[in-house]
Amino acid sequence: MNAPTQKLTRKDFTSDQDIRWCPGCGDYAILATLQRTLPALGVSRENTVFISGIGCSSRFPYYMDTYGFHTIHGRAPAVATGLKLANPELDIWMITGDGDGLSIGGNHMLHVLRRNVDLQIMLFNNRIYGLTKGQYSPTSLVGLRTPSTPMGSIDAPVVPASFALGAGGRFIARTIDTDAKHLGPVFTRAHEYRGASFIEILQNCPVFNDGAWSHVKDKEIADESQLRLEHGQPMRFGENKGLRLNAKTIELEVVTIGEDGVTEEDILVHDESNKSMALLLANLEPPRFPIALGILYCDTDAHPYDQAVHAQVEHAKATSKVDSIDALLRSGHTWTVE
């Protein structure tokens, strides 16, 4: 369906437009990694479409030499759904941010996930409104001082991956803008998945919220603050740490192998198909816990919405007795005037 005739390179996916993000913006790294990843996915330019809403991240389509539609604030999931219904052969990437996707477009995000429309949804989470010059966003932490919260934000933040799981999302991943080695494979897995694949990308805004993720990203502490999930592998991090389930409280707890009789056997093994575990993992936050990165959840039994819609259309075509519009207009009671 989406096979290129010749081998494409990063350059083939790069448009001729000057990039207008601020110097040092995390978006550059995400763009570069995706442009490098796409050729390996075996996709064609003409069948690839980028749909975005409004915000810094939503300029993304202009920099991709594919089809692209920069729509209106929050509505990318709805536009992408309509496009996928019109042509299920298209390979659609949706670009959004924490404000676009979880504030003004929160309702659409809920529904695109529960319907399981076959899209790759990239949510750039920088915990701030960048394009409108630095107001707090729905993922900003309590206490954040911004032009609209001079005394500090008092809104409790939403956890995107947790929201997506709650909405019924079937593929939930989390990754980091500047970590190309993690980001690329997550893009590949998301692209493979038939259904709505939700990727939260922890992204830095150097102008309005610099260092919002340094407590998980900084090299010195990364080992201790990041849990890199691998399906079938124990949930280990840091030097000797791991996660264990406390069966009494049904909560995760951090344990150290070799201390208090803890052995490798006690450490939980990641199972992407376990939704209960995914919900626990999605909500882990430093400093008590590491942040969970990778594929938190992947339900391979779910069917994409667009396929089900077209299956009904095909079924109706195959079984209907009314085979023309003339017949439709004359169905039911008619009478003839001579």
């Binding site: 330019r45 019109a86 003839t336």
Partner: protein, 651 residues
């Protein structure tokens, strides 16, 4: 306003005073051996009947079945269902009254009639809210069985109007329909509440008899509808037959005739009954065929538009994709996404939905994507009168967006015209790469009329051509020199990869542009593209009367029938008056201003507080006067006749 409309059709030669007391008719005991009724038939050229009852009484069904039987005997007809917003308002309350008015005639009619000649009132609340409309001397059939103390109190009657002089102006037939229904279905061993559900069918049986019709069609319909519920089917048929038999055997008082409305002479062809929303759904499917595009509907439930979503959801065999979105905004955005993908994107809604979709419609204007937006208007603002009709979205349709954002606006004048205007909307949208707004209203949506069924072979196809891979120097804003329409490149086409969006684009490259001169030129270009459509639509014609003279009545949308009848009536009285009706509201036909100026005076009846009248005054500098009705009810013919007289130039 209503007094002018009162006149007796069923009752020529008599006046109300003479009828006093003469026609009050007590229910008779069926077991008393009534003699078969051998009344003479009175032939009428038209009659208006209204069924009124609790919203749970099944009046809409009764009306629809009577409509069907009228069509079968070849009458012309027009209907007006009028129901409350509450699905099941408290029983017996005046605000829970549901009505269905039907006008049947032996000649072509265009409105459901000003005032009923026959009123069937199933309870005191229905009587209270409807009897004021009944013509003097009109036939009033009431279900005496529902005139209990409790129901009388709920309707606000201090004493029973059936027992005093309140109804003396009408020919009152008091029947205990409840009791008769219970007797008719006694064999089915139903509970009282369930048994009484059939009283609408008993009533329908009686009214069918009154108009000299048999019960065959309705029996067939009941047989189909309740094929799997035998008891429901059989008890309803029993009630229907009992009502009909009652009419045949009971002794009716002097003055109660069997009425016969002869066949109308309609032009040859195959006909069916159609409501505006049905016609609209079918028109969209026809447009999909004529344009060779897949139809993708994005819609969110809203009264009175939901039935279009329902109808299209049942037409998937024509390749129709329907998407019930999470909200109005998602509905239009999905339609825009579908259009971007090369389908015919359509969204259907009512006024509040248009308000929510405004930003997205602006996006479709900016990105120059085809989109059909259908506004089935209702009373506003805000939630307004959701189940009532109004034409108050005209300004919203033409002007209601941020920025300079013109789009074509068209309207339908009759239920059947909804079919053709849906096609016209799709034609303009795809030819000019623009959203198009089609305005209908609640009155057209639910009202039915006999419709001469068109053949697809008689409709002009408008197959869409997408931009091809070989397009030289392609960019997304390459335009056709004549229409100014941009090419439609479809994702999936190699070599045409491009980006569009809501930000202003450079006219020569399609890339983002904040250049001041470019924005000025692009705004002018978008406006010119829409203005040019005036060259692609029919000139405004005169529907009735001369093309010059003393007075022009000009309207748009569903007021067509009432204006046309009013102008005919006034002309019969010798008044020089003409009727013109706009179907393209933006841009208007090229000759509109010139036509308006050929008349000494212009009046504009509208079901709003004056919108088209302001546009005509503003655009064409004519001293047009508004005739405005904002009651949630359509115009009565007499109201417009009266306005015509008021606005004639002094001779």
């Amino acid at each position: 306003m209503t007094s002018a409309s009162k006149g007796s059709k069923l009752h020529r030669g008599r006046n109300a005073a003479q009828t006093r007391d003469t026609y009050a008719y007590e229910d008779m005991n069926m077991d008393g051996g009534a003699s078969p009724n051998k009344l003479e038939r009175e032939e009428l050229d038209s009659v208006v009947i209204r069924f009124a009852g609790d919203s749970g009484d099944g009046m809409q069904l009764t009306g629809a079945q009577f409509t069907h039987s009228s069509a079968m005997v070849g009458n012309d007809l027009s209907t007006f269902p009028d129901f409350p917003a509450e699905i099941r308002a408290p029983a017996g309350s005046t605000y829970g009254v549901s009505g269905f008015q039907i006008h049947v005639a032996s000649h072509d009619i265009m409105t459901p009639g000003d005032a009923p000649d026959v009123l069937i009132a199933m309870n005191p609340a229905a009587l209270k809210t409807n009897v004021g409309d009944l013509v003097d001397g009109g036939l009033l059939i009431v279900n005496e069985g529902a005139f209990t103390k409790g129901n009388l109190k709920k309707a606000g009657y201090e004493q029973n109007p059936l027992d005093d002089e309140t109804l003396a102006a009408y020919r009152l037939v008091k029947l205990d329909i409840s009791k008769h229904t219970l007797a008719a279905v006694a064999a089915f061993d139903l509970g009282t509440k369930e048994a009484l559900r059939s009283k609408n069918m008993w009533t329908l049986g009686l009214v069918l008899w009154l108009f000299g019709r048999d019960t065959k069609n309705t029996e067939e319909w009941l047989g189909q509808k309740f094929a799997k519920k035998e008891v429901v089917r059989d008890s309803n048929i029993a009630a229907l037959k009992a009502g009909h038999a009652y009419g045949e055997t009971a002794e009716m008082p002097t003055g109660v005739h069997i009425y016969k409305v002869p066949k109308a002479t309609l032009s040859p062809g195959t006909y069916r009954n159609v409501t505006g929303n049905e016609a609209l759904a079918w028109g969209l499917v026809a447009a999909s065929k004529l344009s060779e595009l897949q139809l993708v509907l994005g819609s969110y439930p809203i009264t009175p538009a939901s039935t279009v979503l329902h109808a299209l959801s049942r037409l998937k065999n024509f390749g129709v994709v329907t998407f019930q979105a999470e909200d109005e905004i998602a509905a239009v955005c999905a339609a825009i996404g579908a259009s971007f993908g090369g389908s015919l994107g359509v969204t259907t809604t009512s006024g509040p939905g248009i308000a929510l979709k405004a930003e997205a419609i602006g996006l479709a204007i900016m990105t120059e994507l085809p989109l059909v937006v259908i506004d089935i208007q209702r009373g506003g603002p805000s939630t307004g009168l959701p189940t009532k009709t109004e034409q108050s979205d005209l300004f919203q349709a033409i002007y209601g967006r941020n920025g300079d954002a013109p789009l074509p606006v068209i309207s339908a004048s009759t239920p059947g015209e909804c079919f053709f205007q849906a096609i016209e909307a799709a034609r303009l949208a795809t030819k000019y790469m623009t959203p198009v707004m089609l305005l209908t209203d609640g009155y057209l949506a639910n009202g039915a009329e006999p419709w001469k069924i068109p053949s697809m072979a008689d409709l002009t196809p408008f197959p869409v051509e997408f931009a091809g891979s070989e397009t030289p120097d392609f960019h997304p804003y390459i335009r056709d020199d004549e229409t100014l329409s941009r090419l439609w490149p479809r994702p999936g086409t190699p070599g045409l990869e491009h980006r569009i969006g809501g930000i202003e684009k450079d006219r020569a490259s399609g890339n983002i542009s904040y250049d001041p001169e470019n924005h000025h030129l692009m705004t002018k270009m978008r406006a010119q593209k829409i203005a040019n459509i005036a060259d692609d639509i029919p000139e405004l014609g005169i529907e009735e009367g001369e093309d010059t003279g003393d007075l022009l009545v000009i309207g748009w949308g569903s007021t067509h029938g009432a204006i046309r009848q009013a102008v005919r009536r006034a002309r019969k009285e010798g008044v020089q008056v003409s009727h013109a009706h706009l179907r393209h509201l933006n841009p208007m036909p090229k000759n509109t201003g010139e036509l308006l100026r050929r008349f000494k005076r212009v009046i504009v009846p509208e079901m709003n507080n004056g919108m088209l009248v302001k546009i005509l005054r503003g655009e064409y500098l004519v001293d047009a006067k508004g005739i405005n009705k904002i009651s949630g009810q359509p115009f009565k013919v007499a109201e417009i006749v009266s306005a015509i007289h008021d606005h004639l130039p002094a001779s």
